[in-house]
């Protein structure tokens, strides 16, 4: 008997906006001028926030910080494709996602300064607290998405993670469960080429990360992660497909981490200056700026106003964070259980902050 072909697959890559600011009109998502400006303004806040967080870490005003520089389009472009009621499960390199969800900036600074109150997600913002443990939040997204179906809601659920996460068991289990239960989940992998020092080639022998979706029975697509329109369009389609009962999608945002892994890392130990320069020339924000100039969306004082607004928002966030001060030491007892156990109550009674 001859062998038969049971299945074949192809993986597509979506590019809309090139590095010189030219967009393919046939592929452009239906965004009005005001929406494009809003995107640009979020990107500017994200870049400003990131710059200030890095300098604040150097000044000892916050702790270790994971920079998103270079990944702003992957984060803002995708986050803006979700509705407010959709639920997002983020990883730790996601400042742009939080910012595009209108997360209070002072709370982000609080988080990075070692104050857990920064992750007390405001009631009207549907984002989970940062998941430090790589990939363990993918099954959470599958579960929340399944719960949304159970509750007959039209809610999509996102999980954000990096290329390193795709090597972990919970990536497999989360993607597999989402596929089996046809859950309305959107898996957004920012392939920024590195997991600390390990290049993407050390995470998988597969040609793309997007193609991993094929084995779980749903669609995977690679997009230019530095192209905010491509990221937005792919995510919007995935969200609509999920809400229509079409199941999960894996989106690989092909991008680059321009900074070190965190402020505790030195990327010059493991990658060349030429490589970084190649990617600097493909900056996601610069190309949108060029596009907007060509389209007449950014004349006059617009650019200056955007920069000033971003700086003032970030400054306000820093000011508010630094004025807030640390939590009361007793605060650490509050959220282990809904109410304290008898032993915890005794420990609270005997706790003496003055002893530190």
């Amino acid at each position: 008997m001859p062998e038969t072909v049971l299945d074949t697959f192809e993986i597509k890559r979506l590019d809309i906006l090139d590095a010189r600011g030219n967009a393919d009109p046939a592929l452009m998502p239906p965004l009005g001028g005001a929406e494009i400006k809003k995107m640009y303004e979020y990107l500017a806040i994200a870049r400003t926030f990131d710059d200030r967080a890095l300098s604040m870490q150097r000044e000892g005003r916050i702790g270790t910080y994971a920079s998103i520089r270079g990944q702003e389009a992957s984060q803002v472009g995708s986050a803006l494709a979700f509705d407010k009621k959709d639920l997002i499960f983020p990883s730790y390199r996601e400042s742009g996602v939080f910012i595009a969800r209108d997360y209070p900036l002072h709370m982000l600074f609080q988080f990075w300064s070692g104050d857990e109150r920064g992750m007390k997600v405001p009631g009207d913002i549907n984002i989970f607290p940062i998941c430090i443990s790589v990939s363990t939040h993918l099954p959470h997204a599958a579960g929340a998405a399944a719960a949304a179906v159970y509750k007959k809601e039209k809610t999509a659920v996102a999980a954000y993670f990096g290329d390193g996460a795709t090597s972990k068991g919970d990536f497999h289990e989360g993607m597999n469960l989402a596929g089996v239960f046809n859950a309305p989940a959107v898996f957004i992998c920012q392939n920024n080429q590195y997991a600390i020092s390990m290049p993407r080639s050390r995470q998988t022998a597969a040609k793309t990360i997007a193609q991993k979706a094929v084995a779980y029975g749903f669609k995977g697509i690679q997009v230019d992660g530095n192209d905010v329109f491509a990221v937005y369009r792919a995510t919007k389609e995935a969200v609509e497909n999920a809400k229509a009962g079409g199941g999960p999608t894996l989106i690989e945002c092909y991008t680059y981490r321009l900074s070190d892994h965190t402020t505790a890392d030195d990327a010059s130990r493991y990658r060349s200056r030429e490589e970084v320069e190649y990617w600097l020339a493909r900056d996601p924000i610069a190309r949108l700026r060029l596009y907007m100039e060509k389209q007449g969306l950014s004349g006059g004082k617009y650019e200056e106003e955007v920069r000033e607004k971003a700086e003032s928002l970030v400054d306000d966030g820093i000011k508010k964070m630094e004025e807030t001060g640390p939590a009361e030491p007793q605060d650490m007892f509050t959220y282990t259980y809904q109410g304290p156990t008898a032993r915890l109550s005794a420990q609270i009674r005997s706790f003496s902050p003055g002893a530190v």
């Binding site: 992750m119 363990t136 959470h140 929340a144 719960a147 289990e173 989360g174 469960l177």
Partner: protein, 326 residues
């Protein structure tokens, strides 16, 4: 039993099943999930009949994926459901240990109360059923060490049902350890009406004044048997985290002599925690050193040597005699 109306005798499997059935009927957000829990009714039949009664949306057959199942339950709980997970054997829970420690135990704290994790993870545990490797361990101490988790071990059909009802209603994650050896060993009548046994409360299984014997799960029955000839106060802890320190100390102050019986290996077991607590808070009431009767610190042997591994009635009696002689 605080009831005039009783149901015919139930074994522990049937008691657990009736708790699940009643809580699912009471609360539409309660869902049961795990490997083979649906059509098959669970490998020990604890979920039997639930699939037909509540359908595949609420009795969810999952892939073989322990970390994923618990992770998924965490996400479902964050979105308003109350998942009751079955892990087929405690020996297979370790892939999900990461999810429990890294996430379930911390969601409330991480989100400052915005999200919580009201899940129950049920799993058969303990030796004495002549099973193959990794089907007999009792590693309750691993879970009891984690702030944010609760750990419950029933010892009878009555306590199994009442504690599972409370575990399902509890707002925090509960590890619910079902002693496999007891699943069909004991039958008892259950109250016809709804009842719940509060978590964190020990049960006095036998009253006495000469020696305190503390145990839980399947060892409780060996402890009771061993205690028959003695004027022993036998405490059934029922909840290990948070455990009923007050009941332990009250009994110790009454008797001054303590034997703690656990099925798990001796070193760093839950008995060690109780022993340390007694040393801290009641040492002047002691008339003899606290004795721990436990398994050897070995990898659990296969079925044919299992009985040599577990504490037997003889070992418990020797400890009682020793503490009484001291």
């Amino acid at each position: 039993m605080p009831s005039s109306q009783v149901l015919p005798a139930f074994n522990m499997v049937q008691a657990l099943n009736s708790a699940l059935k009643e809580e699912m009927a009471r609360n539409p957000d309660v869902v049961v999930m795990g490997e083979d829990v649906g059509r098959d009714g669970g490998v020990f039949r604890v979920t039997e009949g639930l699939y037909d009664a509540f359908g595949p949306q609420r009795v969810i057959d999952t892939p073989l994926s322990e970390s994923g199942i618990v992770g998924m339950a965490i996400g479902m709980a964050a979105h308003g459901l109350v998942p009751v997970v079955e892990i087929q054997f405690m020996g297979f829970i370790y892939p999900a240990f990461d999810q429990l420690v890294t996430n379930a135990a911390r969601i409330r704290a991480r989100s400052r109360g915005r999200f919580s994790c009201p899940i129950v993870v049920r799993t058969p545990y303990g030796a004495g059923v002549k099973a193959i490797e990794l089907h007999s361990e009792s590693t309750e101490a691993l879970f009891s060490h984690i702030p944010g988790l609760k750990v419950v071990v029933p010892s009878t059909p009555y306590t199994a049902k009442g504690l599972l009802v409370s575990a399902i209603r509890d707002p925090d994650p509960v590890i619910f350890l079902e002693p496999t050896r007891l699943y069909r060993m004991i039958k008892e009548e259950l109250p016809a009406e709804e009842y719940a046994i509060p978590l964190g409360k020990a049960r006095n299984a036998k009253e006495g004044n000469a020696v305190t014997i503390i145990s839980w799960g399947s060892m409780l029955h060996r402890a009771l048997k061993a205690a028959e000839p003695y004027d022993a106060d036998v405490l059934d802890l029922l909840t290990l985290s948070p455990y009923d320190e007050g009941a332990v100390l009250a009994s110790v102050k009454k008797t001054g002599r303590v034997v703690i019986v656990q099925e798990a290996p001796k070193s760093c077991g839950f008995a060690s925690e109780i022993s340390a607590c007694i040393a801290e808070k009641a040492i002047l009431h002691l008339r003899a050193p606290v004795m721990r009767v436990a398994a050897f610190d070995v990898v659990l042997p296969f079925a044919r040597l299992e009985e040599y591994y577990m504490p037997g009635i003889k070992n418990i009696r020797e400890a009682i005699e020793e503490t009484l002689r001291y």
